[in-house]
Assembly symmetry: C2
Homo-oligomer: 504 residues x 2
């Protein structure tokens, strides 16, 4: 029975787990059926996925709580798995559109996991319009140690249609040799990535997160703080920053990556600036709807990768910056300029610092965040920033599993007390897939936010008129989309998606 102690951060995810803050993440991946799929394609797929007899980590990891012999929680490798429990076949009610999918996924994402079993659930959802299906993979955050849940699946798919037909189940050891060769994964530019960097720096002597926080604090030298430090606690109070309940809402949006790139070029800024800018535009309208837009702009915590001043090679350092979201600015062009200036200044500041200083700065930012997560003051003090916006790079070529082409991968993340909204997007092939996850009670109209993001993109395009703007009729990352469904799903036509009417 092989056991693996959890690292200090993963221990945290098990400690903060509660009815209101379940610490799981998920990936939602819609697929097009293979053209020649037999009627029983999905049933057979489920049966095959459940047929595995041997299992590879982390799929066979089961949590064992701390005891006298083992002061830290550990993973214990299981010999057998109850695959009928883990692999779940579900369906959408008709018409199987975005609305029905969003409601099912929100429900699934609201349910806490059974931590007495390996904490993952693989849902195969049939009945999406156009004969499509989706995978919703849910994993406890402690299980994945910085790997995104989506990546755990996508690295087991193939960009070769033929090769994809014979891939064994994701959790089968026989898959291991066939897994796509990936460049050694750089530390991901996510909040996790930031924390991972810090833990690596502090070293393995740290055995708990409170201890980790104390280590951070002791590394901070008085006077080592920077004027920019004021910015984090400068975030206005908003509906996004109170205590949260246990129920979630989930909304998604899919954009053509080339449209965003063209805007970045036209605006002389980064792709991430464009992402933050359309999120800011959408949030402005969203909060105006409810008469709750703070006078001061909301701020976003954005994980980024920077190169330290003392680095001669290609080494980068993951940290995170706090940028304005420009929610106080109505004009889309001005908002983008404000955001680009804000992120540029933050990065320039970092680039002028040696690695050690970046580390200290990051720790100082993270320490109070971790502490509030673990104590009852969470959600009751001034937020450090208002919303997390992460951008996770995914595969650049279309991927197949058993001949079914993946259309997008939406990374559905966690929210916390005092940060009731998470926006994470992931690039894949020609698309950039946004997932919005929020507290059901604080954000009753979350679906609108996804719609407004598309509108914000249109407005930004109208303002910047980028060269070679993509014609609105072309769908992202789809080769032969059914006309009507694709149009409804498509961002950028200005058309509201079903189920996203205001007031919903």
């Amino acid at each position: 029975m092989t056991t693996h102690p959890l690292n200090p951060i993963d221990v945290t995810w098990t400690q903060v787990e509660s009815r209101d803050t379940p610490m799981h993440v998920a990936g939602l991946m819609p697929f097009a059926l293979p053209a020649d799929a037999p009627p029983d394609f999905l049933r057979d797929l489920v049966a095959d996925l459940r047929s595995a007899k041997e299992f590879m980590p982390p799929w066979n990891y089961c949590l064992r709580g701390p005891g006298l012999a083992h002061p830290r929680p550990a993973w214990v490798e299981q010999e057998t798995l109850d695959l009928e429990y883990h692999v779940r076949h579900s369906a959408l009610p008709k018409p199987g559109g975005e609305r029905e999918l969003g409601q099912l996924v929100a429900r699934l994402h609201s349910q806490p996991m059974d931590l007495t079993r390996p904490p993952w659930e693989f849902h195969l959802i049939e009945g999406l319009e156009g004969g499509r299906f989706a995978i919703y993979l849910k994993l406890h955050h402690s299980l994945i140690d910085g790997i995104s849940g989506v990546r755990l699946l996508t690295r087991c798919m193939s960009d070769d249609y033929q090769k994809s037909l014979t891939l064994p189940p994701f959790w089968s050891p026989s898959l291991e040799k066939q897994v796509r060769k990936e460049r050694p994964a750089p530390t991901p530019t996510t909040m996790d990535g930031v924390m991972k960097t810090l833990v690596d720096a502090v070293g393995s002597q740290v055995r708990s997160v409170p201890q980790l926080v104390r280590s951070f604090a002791s590394m901070l030298t008085p006077g080592g703080t920077d004027p920019a430090m004021k910015l984090p606690f400068d975030a206005p109070r908003s509906v996004l920053n109170g205590r949260i309940g246990g129920q979630r809402r989930v909304a998604t949006q899919l954009f053509d990556l080339n449209r965003l790139k063209a805007l970045a070029k036209a605006g002389n800024c980064t792709l991430n600036d464009v992402v933050v800018s359309i999120c800011g535009g959408a949030l402005r309208r969203f909060l105006l709807d409810e008469g709750k837009l703070p006078a001061k702009s909301l701020t976003a915590g954005i994980p980024v990768s920077v190169r330290p001043a003392d680095d001669e090679g290609t080494g980068t350092q993951v940290t995170f910056i706090i940028s304005t979201l420009g929610t106080d600015i109505e004009d889309p062009r001005e908002r983008l300029e404000g955001i680009a200036a804000s992120t540029r200044a933050a990065k320039a500041h970092f680039r002028a610092l040696p690695r050690e200083a970046i580390m200290q700065y990051t720790m100082m930012l993270m320490a109070p965040s971790i502490l509030t997560m673990l104590t009852p003051i969470a959600g009751r003090i001034r937020p450090m920033f208002n919303v997390t916006v992460s951008n996770v790079p995914g595969a650049t070529r279309p991927l197949y599993f058993r001949g079914a082409r993946m259309e997008a991968s939406y990374p559905i993340s966690m929210i916390f007390h005092s940060i009731a909204l998470n926006i994470t997007c992931q690039s894949y092939a020609d698309g950039l897939a946004f997932a919005f996850v929020g507290c059901r009670d604080s954000l009753p109209h979350l679906q609108n936010l996804a719609v407004y993001t598309a509108d914000a993109l249109n407005l930004l395009e109208a303002a910047l008129k980028p060269a070679g703007a993509v014609k609105p009729a072309k769908g992202p990352a789809r080769k032969a989309p059914r006309k009507k469904a694709a149009a409804a799903r498509k961002a950028g036509t200005g058309k509201r998606r079903k189920g996203a009417a205001p007031g919903k």
Copy 2:
């Protein structure tokens, strides 16, 4: 803001609530679509059910924990409800058979409820074979105070097709006047009914269950015990009687009530004896399969209604008897005779007792059961009996909601540490619907139990050859069942239902 303190028993349901023992019950009701149902029938129904603006108890009850001002938990009536949360539209994957329905319902029944909201969920499940649909209504046990969850809905349906077309949503106050006239409900012959009787007897001065147990104990006079008292603790240890996990399995079976009545007549016993007998036959084979049949017969705790010796009128008293399940007997006729003798003796014993003595006897039986439920010894001591078998009477005429005819109503109950299996059946029109709910880990092949119950019925019929035995081809409580589906669902053809293959 109207508040209602919970009674001592309902307080218990909130206290024993845990990840492993969620204290909710449910009703599963399949329906035939009206012949003239438009394609959007179910979507429109969901929209209509969500359109209510005012709410009647208990649908608007929300639990408030005990505080300084209110030492007991209380229900607080809510002005508004998030009906999109409570009313859920789901679907089955194809082919939408018993197997798919059973898996979905088992998953839904495994999920703990969010007790920060009114603790009910109404699931409308589409995609059952033959264009049928189902309602799965889940309620926290504390909410219903002895009323069965199924009855909460069925009393809001009509036996008049036309009248059923205009019924408002179940939770709407405007429905109240239209609710079917029912005879004043007798105390139900369920475990709840037994407990309710006791609480009524002990009176309102009792404020907690431990206090209730002490009251019971103090009412017991030494020497007042009866030799029959030995029987309860005579139950053998079995796989049904350990600690349970949080995941459930659910299986269902539908029988023609007339077949069972004919057997009761032929066997010169009660309908309930026949029910217990086929459960015993099925359990015998089920435990033999796994090589875990105890030499001594399993026993069943059966809530019954008896008339005390000192009662001159028609007053009855709900108590419960412990009967053999005859799992040590292979011959079906001998098993039925054994069970009939056992229940007859128990009832005769009660009928010879005055009301007061019945009460004392019942309390003595219940007290340890309640205590073990509340303490960590649950599931670690010798069981009082092995399995609960309840029979709940339902409507005698077919019921309609919005023109859709209800086909059956399966009462899905709770299990506890040391009682990992609950069998509850409910009569309705011409059918008797059995629901089996068990611990997923202790009873991996629960589905077989449902199948074996049908086989046990066939064997009993072959042994007794009742007069006017119903032809196997006729389905219960269905007027124009689709041939194939009905045959597959039907009990008594000896045909195994899909998804019920041994080894599943």
